[in-house]
Structures are given as structure tokens and as C-alpha cells.
């Protein structure tokens, strides 16, 4: 399954970069989201994946008795997911605003700074 994971991560990274390279702002955001997902999965994989062993201490015990998945990558990813939501929502609203003002979705038409115009 690790190989499959690696392939998924590669696909997500490739798709993310490809979308970021497009000119459309919406595609750019989708690209960032895909890239973020790929990064999350990469951390998850590199923390070593294990099946059926969530890092939750059994009801009747005070410490782990059996093997458990490493909780640290999970905590990291959880933070990353939440933060990326903040980024995504802000970016989406920004695109909406930008579209309303400059009437375009094309990045190439937005690259002039105040000084140029």
C-alpha cells in the first residue's frame, strides 16, 4: 500500500503544480488545495502508516498496551488541514472580489502594479 500512497502523492503534487501554472485564478486555488492535500498525505506516509491502530488509549487502561499509530504526524496534519481552510476561504473570497473589480479571471491581466497603470 505504501507504493500506492507514493503514487497518489506524486499525482497530487503533479496535478497541483500543473494547476498552479494555469492562468486562471480559480485553477490556481484548486492547484493549491491539491498540493496541500499531497503534502498532508506525504507527512502521513513518512510518519509510517499502520492499519487498525488509532492513537487512542483503550477505555480500561491508562497506557497503550498494543502498537499504535504515531500521533505526532496526525497532530501536524490536523493543524495543516485547518490552517489551509483559512487560506482557501480567504483566497476564494479574494478571487470573487478581484473578479468583481477587474472583471477577469486571467492572472496575466492582473500582474500590473499600481505604478504601472
Amino acid at each position: 500500500m505504501e507504493i500506492l500512497f507514493a503514487i497518489i502523492i506524486g499525482v497530487l503534487y503533479a496535478a497541483g503544480i500543473y494547476m498552479i501554472l494555469r492562468r486562471s485564478l480559480v485553477k490556481l486555488i484548486i492547484g493549491i488545495i491539491l498540493l496541500g492535500n499531497g503534502a498532508n498525505l506525504l507527512i502521513f506516509l513518512l510518519g509510517r502508516i499502520s492499519e487498525g491502530a488509532p492513537p487512542i488509549i483503550p477505555e480500561e487502561s491508562k497506557v497503550f498496551l498494543e502498537a499504535y499509530a504515531d500521533p505526532v504526524p496526525q497532530a501536524l496534519i490536523l493543524t495543516a488541514i485547518v490552517i489551509s481552510f483559512g487560506l482557501q476561504s480567504f483566497a476564494i473570497i479574494l478571487v470573487k472580489r478581484a473578479h468583481k473589480v477587474v472583471k477577469t479571471d486571467d492572472l496575466d491581466e492582473m500582474n500590473a502594479t499600481d505604478e504601472d497603470s
Binding site: 506524486g10 503534487y13 503533479a14 486562471s24 487498525g52 476564494i92 473589480v101
Partner: protein, 769 residues
Amino acid sequence: MLTAILLGFLFALFLVFAGKFFKGKLAVVSSIIPLSLFIYFASFIPRISSGEVIRRTYEWVPSFGVNLGFSLDGLSLLFSLMITGIGFLVYVYTSTYLKNHQYLDRFYAYLSVFMGAMLGLVLSDNIISMFVFWELTSISSFFLIGFNNTSEASRKSALTALGITGFGGFSLLAGALLLGSMAGTYSITEMLSMKEALAGHEFYILAVIFIFGAAFTKSAQFPFHFWLPGAMKAPTPVSTYLHSATMVKAGVYLLMRFTPVLGDTNFWNTTLISVGAITMLYSAVHTLFRTDLKGVLAYSTISALGILVFLIGLGSQGAFLAAAVFIIVHALYKATLFLVTGVIDLQSGTRNVTVLAGLRKVMMPVAVAGILAAISSAGIPPSIGFLGKELTYEASTHSTGLVIVIVAAIVLTKILLLYAGFVAGIKPFTGKLPEKFSEVKMPGPLMWVPPLLLAILGIVFGIFPALIESSLVKPVVTALSKDASDIHLALWHGFNTVLILSIITIVVGILLYLFLKPSEKLENRIGKLEPVSPESILKKLTYFFAVFSKFWTNVFQNGYLRNYVTTIVLFLVILVGYIFIGNSRLVIDHTQLSQITAYELAVTIILIGGVFYTVFTRSRIGAVAAMGVVGLAICLLFVFYSAPDLAMTQFSIDTLTVILFVLVLYRLPKYLVLSDYKMRIRDGILSLTFGGLISLLALQVLAEPVNSDIGDFYAKNAYLMAHGKNVVNVILVDFRGTDTLIEISVLAIAAIGVYGLLKLRVKSSDRPN
């Protein structure tokens, strides 16, 4: 000694608050500062002339070996006396020259900073602190040159000077660091004992080049000389003090200071002789073509600096003696000539030598000062200038190598300098007084006493050379060449070759003065050579540099996001890919891997399918929906592999994002096809390579052992210390609670941003049409 150096800085600071009291009649009071410093340093003369070297060390940055180490030997003493002595006269002179100037207090503050920095420079024993003071002199010089900050030419000259000397400062820093690492110490005194080791070091040449770079820029040696004539835009007291008597000699000082450490090698001597000779001849010839008094003086100063560098290059004891005497000679007569020029400029309103004449009738004392200085500069007995010239000739006739060339160069330079001195010191005062100058008045005594005093000193020292022999000159030669016992200064050396050369110089020089009149025609003629002068070449270089950097910026900072991303990704792919292919063999241990079940395979296929649909669909809503599918598939992967919390978070966040997207983008137009087929293929190849590289890296990392100490710690203590059983939750809200709090604040800020953007009303005027 530290107090003496800091006094200038402290006074400058004091002027910031109390400046307004020093603008009026009290201005002259500020000259107490240089006067007291002069007396303080003069009190060291007996101790220094008996061969003592006074040292003080204060710790500054001991961990880097940078101490404020100061040492006062003959060389430092001579410079300190010049700095404070001429400084005193300039302070006095300025009080009248810039009388009632609205920024007079500022001017004194700059001068004081400069004086402090210059003293620090000549007293430093540590190269790093020397560098700091060196830069401070450049900076104060920048402010003084640009003192008339309403004139564009002033500002430009100030910038040029700062640029050139700043480059030199950089070179000094590089040289200092290199020398420091070669010698293992930053103290010049300690380096003295390692002369042989340093001269044999593989970086010797490089270190010397850096030191030369600093000295040549500061002392205006060819081809860096052009900032000095430009610096003459400064008020005349500044030209006197910084650009003739002290600061420009800092480069000469540096060379002298390092002569016992780095000198006496073939490279050292040859370079100094050639650069010095070119500079002294080049700028001496230039004086013939100037009509501005200050222009004449600027070029003759450069020429004098060239002579000094040349003498240091000769490297014999006689040459050091000549250099030591010539420093005194030059400081006396050149400062006088500058001060005289200042008087003429202020009283008559012009500095053009072609019109100035006959001023002796209206300002006799100034005329006396000017004529005496011209005599000293010409080297006519009994002035000290004669002594300096004799010693210089003596040193050149006793040099090794191409004696004839060396002697010819120095004699020619001296002839031309005689001409320059006469033009500046005698021409304005002789002849018939023109009608328009009949109203010119005599300046106040504070303006004519300083130049007269300096000029008379020049004659007194010439008649009684014993006054400076053991007190000033001998200690300098001792500092440079250890042995100076057989030095004896005298006006009359007997009838020999040197005397014949002297007579030739004086006769030819006076003839030149009588027959060649400075005129604008001549000045225009040399103007034609301007395009090939070092200044124009440098200007062109700066221009091309600007063009190049603009081109470079446009290539890399072109404002297209995708180009930035492409550059970054491409760089990463090539670099990491190169290392990866070169160094590692991919090993996959199949026994370590977990099995693939049918439902995992199904989820994987859905996920990859979703990604492909997201990328290739033409429908925006379709892409968003497919992205949601990808998120949910990832959510399932989390479920399979023991991460229930992640699965829950991913599920809710993914759903929210999709909803938000749909709500916002519903009204946007359809995707447009913005890029052509070729670009998509190119980007596709790049992204696939990148993705493939990441996959390979991931697999490679999996082959390495994992360290889970931190995870074990949390797992062990989650319940015992934090009383929670869901370890991931405990980490987030307890062990790393503060981090989570900050994360929540980030989200809150994002929420405020979103709210603000939604509520923001764009004014119609801001809307592009």
C-alpha cells in the same frame, strides 16, 4: 586616549541639542575642541620622540578578537597633530567664512564627527576598528561635500565620493578580514612580528590588492582620482581640511602603516611606484588646463598624493624621510592656498584665475600668505618646501632600477606643481587690479590669520628644520623602518646633483608660469578627452550595470506567477534530481509494506480519477465537485490507516470548501482556454517530473529508519499527565495548547479578512473602465 577620540563625536551630539547657541558669535568658541586636542597630542611629543609607543586597549567584541586597541607612535602622532592643528585653524576660519549660515551648527557637527573619526583611524591598532573609523570619515565627508544640499552638482559629487570611497572601505574590510585570518590576529602591532610569514602566504597578493584598493580610492590615485575634483563642490574649509590636509592622506597613512607589515616586496614596491608616478604626472599635467582656482588646487593635491604613494613605493629610508617631510610641507602650503582661495572666493565672488589679479592692493596679509605658500610649494629656499623637494630628489636619485625615468617623472611633476602653486598663490595678487575688484574688501582677521600662520610656519620650519627633526620626522621614519638614527635635516646639502635638479625645476617652472597663461581655450581643449577619462568610463559602466540589472530583473521578476513557480520547480527538480540519481539506489523492502486490499485499490482509483477530472474538465463546477471527491477519498485513506481525527477534520473542511466554492463561483463565467497546446504539454511534463520525483523521494525516505521518541513520549504521558485518552487531541489542546491557540487566532484573522472583503464596497472611481 579614548576620550580624545570620542570628544569629536560627543561634541557633535551636544550640537544636536545646543546647536542654536553656536550659530552666532559663539561659533568660534567651538574651536576650543580641536585646540585642546592639539595640545593634548602635542604633550606626547617628548615621549614619542624618545622612541616610546603608547598603547591603550579597551575590550569591544572580545569574542571576535575585535578590541578597541589604540597605539600612538610617530606616524600616528604626526597625523593627529595635523588633524587637530589644521582642524583648529579651519574651525576658526569657518566661523567667519560661514558666518550666520543657517546650518552652521550642523556644519560644525559634521566637522567634529569627521575629526573624531579621523583621529580614531590614525590611532587604531586593530584593523577592524580602523575600518569602522575609515567608513565614518567617508560618511562625514559625504555630508560635508553635500553641505550645499540645494545644489544638484553638490549632491552628485557627494554621491560619487561616497561611492568611490565606499568601495574602498569595502576593499579595506575584505583586506582586514583576510589579513586577520592569515595572521590570526587583527592587531597591527602583533602582525609586525609575522612579516615573513605574511609575505610568503598564498593570499599575500590578494590581501595587498585589497589594501591598495582602499588606499588608492581614499587617496584619489589614478584611476580613482576623479572624485576629488568633484568634492571641491564642498565649502572651502572642507576642501582645506578633508580633501587636502587630512582625509585624502588616510590612504597614504594606511600604506605607511602597513609598510612594515606587508611592504618591501617586489609587488608592493612596483605597484606603488607605478600608480604613484602615473597619478602625479597625470594630474600635474591636468593643472595646466584648469581655470578654477579650486580645480588647480584639487589636481595639484592629487599630484602630491601621487608623490607620497610613489615615495612609499621607493621603500628606502631616504624615501620615507622625504615622505614624512613632504606630508608636513604639503599640509602647510596646500591648506594655506585653499584658505586663501576661500578668502578670494568669498570677497571677490569668483575663483576664475583668468580674471583675478592685483588683489594684493586690497588684502595684503592674504597676499603674503598666498605668496609664501607658493614659494613653499615651488620648493624655493628657505621654505620647508625646498627641504621636501631636496629629500624627494635625493630619494629618487638613490633608487634602484630605472633611475632616469623615475627622476625625470618626479622632476617634471615638481615643475608642473610649481606652476600650479604660482597660479593659485601668486597670480591673483599680482598685476593691475581690475576695475570690478576695486570694491573688494579685506576679510575679518579670523579669516586671514589662519592661512598667514600656516604660511609663516612653512618658512620657519624651513629655516629651522631642527624644530621638526627629532620631534616629528624621526619618529615617523622609526615607525616605518625601525632605524632612523642617522637622519639630519638641513636646508643646505652642498653642491650636488640634487641641487642642480632643484635649480632646473625652479627655473623651468618659473618660465612656464611666465609664458603659459591659464585660459578657457586650454580648458576646453582637455575637455575633448573627457569621453576616455576614467570618470566617463565608470559612468558608462554604472549605466550598463543598471541596464543589465533591469534586464535581469525583467527576466526573473517579471510579474508572472507561473514563471516564478516554473523557475522554483525546475530548479528543485534539477538539483534534487541530480543528487538523487547520483547518490541513491532505490530499495523497496516488500516485507515491510502493508497489503493492498480491494477497497483500498478502489479508493485509490477514485482518487486518481478525481484528480484527473479536476485537471482536465472544462466545467468549473465539475472541477470543484471532483476536488471534493478527491478530498473525501483522502478522508477514507485516513480512516483505513488509523487516523479517525484526521478523517473527521478532512471530511468537514472538504465539505465546507466545496460549498464555499460553489456559492462564490456560481456566477463566474466558464473557463476560458487561455493557454495553447504547447504550453500545456510543457507544464505537464514539468509537473509530472516533479510529482514523480516526490514519489521517489517518499519511497526513498521510507527505506530509512524512523525515530518515534516524541510520539512515544506523548502516547505514554497522554493519560498520566494530561488525563486524556485521544492522544492526537491531547497533543493539540494540552501539550501544544499555545500553538493551537495561535492557530485559532490565525483563523480568526482570516475570518475577519473574509468578512471585510465581503462587506467592502468598491468606489466607482477605483474601478477600472
